[in-house]
Amino acid sequence: MSSNELPLEGIRVVDLAQVFAGPACTRILADLGADVIRFESPNRLDVTRSLIITENDGLDHYYHRASYFVVRNTGKREIVVDLAKEEGREITRKLIATADVVVESFTPRVMAAFGLDYARLKQIKPDIIMCSLSGYGQDGPMRDYAGYGMGLEPASGISSITGYEGGPPMRSGLSFTDPYSGFIGAGAILTALYHRRRTGNGQYIDLSEQEAAIPIMAAAVLDQQMNGRLMPRTGDRSTYAAPQGCYGCAGDDRWAVISCEDDAEFERLARATGHPEWARDARFATVLARHEHHDELDALITVWTSQRDHYDVMHTLQAAGVKAAAVLDGKEVLFDPQFKARGHFDIVDQPLLGKRPVQRHMAAKFTRFEAKTRRPAPLLGQHNEEVLKELGYTDAEIVAFAEAAVIADKPNLPVPPQIVAMALKLPYDRYIEHRILLAIEPDYRQQLGIAD
């Protein structure tokens, strides 16, 4: 590509969102070229500034070193403003007057309490597009419920169809409905921008994370109304394919998934594993028979997979025309040849942390531009002065704001940072002992080729 002119150049986003869903939304807008200006409060930092501290050591400015925060806030600027103070709200209103989009993720009463609800934003900037991301939406009896991602995947119903056969409902091992609703928010905002380009009108977007994820449950919702049946939990099996499952491979906790949609694909599996007779076996010859004798078939397939590396299983079966994939852990995904070839991880030179891999949030690849991260994640309040000067504030006014604690570049902590740092340190030695972690590799930066 000749240049990296991005679709949202010239679009300014005021980002009052915190934690995961909202920041994932605005991270996509930033990577598409928008000028995203994050807000934080000096009294209550984004909680992700205390999650997964680099090197599991929070003594030196932990809030600048939280990997969880870095990953979803690269490419943005940040100001730290106390919205409890009228001067702080005045700065915010001035900034919104220059903005195209406002994103927030508080529970519904909060923006109104700040005097920043949609009706008032519209007075400040008539064509503003405002997107509120919340757990349960802006109205209805649960509107004021606090929503965390780990609760919202279950609340969407998805956990009721996730779990081992005969076992209890389960969550995913991380809160995927958070980024999912953030992605939905980015698309909703692009839809509203398209409309504004044609009509000149802004609008308000009410995004409930619970509702955003329910369409994933559609087959279960329709089965319930059509047949009065609750879709059972079936582990890794599917009514759409047989065999389908996750099979143990050689090595410590290595796995591969295999999925055969029809008889032809199963026959290819049988041949690739050196067992063409499976396809002629009456127990396995049809998809119905394979569903019926799935346990027996899985045992046979496992004999083959357990002698092979999970990547061998994937490549051998894919070469034969069978759907298969290695189940990757957080290290393997960074080294996988396909993710590498397509540049899924950008190397970001992050202040205090050095070079670090940060995953794309906009997964689409384009030919005319690259939706990648363009700058490191902001330090706390890093752009206070820069942004306030752009709004026309003088040096003297900015100094006065800092003295009056309207703006800040340090958090107001009620306890010494050493105590916070101790609380943030996870007991990784014991986590290894209990197999919560597979390993810790001290030379990981050398392995990744990002050592200083």
Binding site: G135, G140, L207, A241, G330, K331
Partner: protein, 407 residues
């Protein structure tokens, strides 16, 4: 009738299944004119169901009815030259072309991006494939499960001594569809600003990996490799689903639920919820790592309370204490949920063949251009409208194409 956001966008969609059709559903429900091009046998979701009474019927597949609202359907075999001729006439009048085929298949059909760009320089070509259009796995086949496997999410889901678990509902396909949708809108925005089409290339595996919360980050910032541990966060137990008197609840202490050096000496919200201030003095309430490792002992402390209270009591009380506990509804619970009903989330519609169906509503609400859903089309129901009415074919041409099995 209120304004539609994407009223002047014309989409031709040859994708099948979940990912591509969900992307074009989100465009169609926002007002784009989507022509769904199905193979003569129909999109394969027409064969997947669920079906009323479990009787397969291509016009009554629940999954199809959900994924294809607000579209028109034509049948066309795009794998044969005569079908490709018709398709190109459609593309000449389109802004967006959506496909779920792999790059090699498209190239064999003369529909590779280079060919399309030369003929239709303003066209946005949006392609979703299991591993993306380029790279060593470009020709590999896949589905939601392979995407979940590659993304790291699956490795971290499930019990520590059992196999990794796929999340229910084919989320990998939906996530890829949403990423495709965003990519299309970004390319349209770019076209509006600067002119020219683009190739939007989405890998299902990358789309799901984009939703990874911190598995790759734990290695890239700490050198730590996380396993699965009852689907629990690394931040500590609970944050997980637990059994109560009449079902399950999600026990989430949130940032301020347990005693914290940041909060001071008052009784913690978690101890208040469980009606026992002494719990704050236990090592399990004081230390996240202890809860995580010796979770069975922690669970023994709160189990008596949970087993004697209903999900409703527990979640309402917890929320009153600002603890973000949540319910664990199933499909029936969602359909009768008061909160969702008051928000008018589900959409009841009358389909000409399938009758009354209740579909999940829009994933977001827009104040000026609300998303609306008209029923999914019957297979090929717009053949005459599109081919005769818009492309100028004669009725007799349709008969010939039909006899050849092209439409």
């Amino acid at each position: 009738m209120s304004d539609r956001a994407l009223t002047d966008v014309r989409v031709v969609d040859i994708s099948q299944g979940i990912a591509g059709p969900y992307a074009t559903k989100l465009l169609a429900d926002a007002g784009a004119a989507v022509i769904k091009v199905e193979p003569p046998a129909g999109d394969y979701t027409r064969r997947l169901g669920p079906f009323p009474g479990d009787v397969p019927d291509p016009e009554r597949s629940g999954l199809y009815l959900h994924l294809n609202t607000s579209k028109r359907s034509i049948t066309l075999d795009v794998s044969v030259p005569s079908g490709q001729v018709v398709l190109k006439k459609l593309l000449a009048r389109a802004d967006v072309f959506v496909t779920g085929e792999k790059a090699s298949t498209l190239a064999a059909w003369g529909l590779g991006y280079a060919d399309l760009k030369a003929q239709f320089p303003e066209l946005v070509v949006a392609q979703v494939s299991p591993f993306g259009a380029t790279g060593p796995y470009a020709d590999y086949d896949g589905n939601s499960l392979t995407a979940m496997a590659m993304s790291t999410i699956m490795y971290n889901t499930g019990e520590p001594d059992r196999e990794p678990l796929a999340t229910g509902g084919e989320p990998g396909a939906y996530i890829a569809g949403v990423q495709l949708w965003i990519g299309i809108l970004a390319a349209l925005e770019n076209r509006a600003a600067r002119g020219g089409g683009d190739h939007v290339d989405v890998s299902m595996a990358e789309a799901v990996a984009a939703a990874d919360e911190y598995n790759a980050a734990m290695y890239g910032f700490q050198g730590a490799i996380r396993r699965r541990y009852y689907s629990r966060h690394i931040f500590g137990y609970p944050n997980d689903i637990m059994e109560c008197m009449d079902g399950h609840v999600v026990v989430i202490p949130g940032a301020g639920g347990f005693p914290s050096p940041l909060v001071g000496d008052s009784v913690s919200p978690m101890a208040l919820l469980f009606e026992n201030p002494d719990l704050d003095q236990t090592v399990f309430f004081k230390q996240m790592g202890e809860r995580m490792i010796n979770w069975r002992e922690f669970e023994a402390l709160i189990h008596p309370f949970l087993s004697m209270h209903s999900a409703m009591e527990i979640v309402m009380t917890a929320q009153a204490l600002r603890l973000p506990f949540a319910f664990v509804p199933n499909a029936a619970d969602l359909l009768s949920d008061e909160h969702l009903a008051e928000r008018g989330f589900f959409v009841r519609q009358q389909h000409p063949v399938a009758g009354a169906v209740t579909l999940p509503g829009a994933p977001f609400r827009m104040s000026e251009t609300p998303l609306t859903m008209s029923p999914a089309p019957e297979r090929g129901s717009a053949n005459a409208d599109v081919l005769v009415g818009e492309l100028g074919y004669e009725q007799g041409d349709l008969t010939i194409l039909s006899d050849q099995g092209v439409i």
